[in-house]
Symmetry: C2
Subunit: 117 residues, 2 copies
DNA sequence: GCAATTGGTAAGTGCTAACTTACCGATGGG
DNA sequence: CCCATCGGTAAGTTAGCACTTACCAATTGC
């Protein structure tokens, strides 16, 4: 039970705009639930529920701090997401090579620097 | 006015399981709408609607082929997604360095090879 | 020990969107 | 020319989920 860290869960979790904002806030460092809710247009319980989804997707982790609870980003979920995206990218490129048409080929072929890897 | 290619749109588009399946099928090469629907548990009009969302997110492109219409993956949307993910990754690592705690360091010493960049 | 702060949970509501069937325009073959 | 195939759109239904308020457990300070 607990952290599955599948790419599907990460996609579903980040598929919600509010959840992306919560995650974005955490990228600045660990925050308490109240601090997050204060900067968002939703209530604190709503933030709690979003944090649970993010936690199940292994995108965040929590730590008790006195009476509060500090949440922070966790690379695990992002890693799963990145791996899936890399596969998508490779498959897309090979499929793209067959089709060889982007409908938007202004300058010469071979754009997308990709990343070194 | 169509292709925006924002990361938010890509996340929203791939936030749906069925849409991920459609996109996954297209990674194998260009397919017609009917071919896609035949391999999924949803109707053909449903596939059409999903394809429209994917197209607006710049994740796929379409091409007329006689009476049919062939869809194929388009790297543009994936690129936006990858760039956003890279930023997420960097921010996560710096925030992670401050917290310096994963709560889940079981057997794997030294995980996440990251990528060379 | 008591009060105050913090956060998770329960219960309920409304809106979005994912799906259906029905219909229609467009293309191609005989 | 007519008919068959393919796919997008319209209209309507339904299920899920993002949100709310209310309540409760846990921890800390006085």
């Amino acid at each position: 039970m607990g952290s599955a860290a599948t790419a599907d869960e990460a996609f579903d979790a980040l598929g919600d705009p509010t959840r992306r904002q919560v995650f974005r806030l955490l990228r600045g460092g660990e925050r308490s639930v109240g601090e997050i809710a204060a900067q968002l247009p939703v209530s604190r319980p709503a933030v709690s529920q979003h944090l649970r989804v993010l936690k199940e997707a292994a995108l965040v982790s929590d730590r008790p701090d006195g009476v509060r609870r500090l949440y922070s980003v966790r690379p695990t979920g992002l890693e799963a997401l990145r791996a899936e995206l890399e596969t998508m990218w490779d498959d897309a490129l090979s499929a793209f090579a067959v089709a060889a048409d982007d409908e938007d080929p202004p300058r010469g072929r071979d754009h997308h620097p990709h990343h070194g890897r």
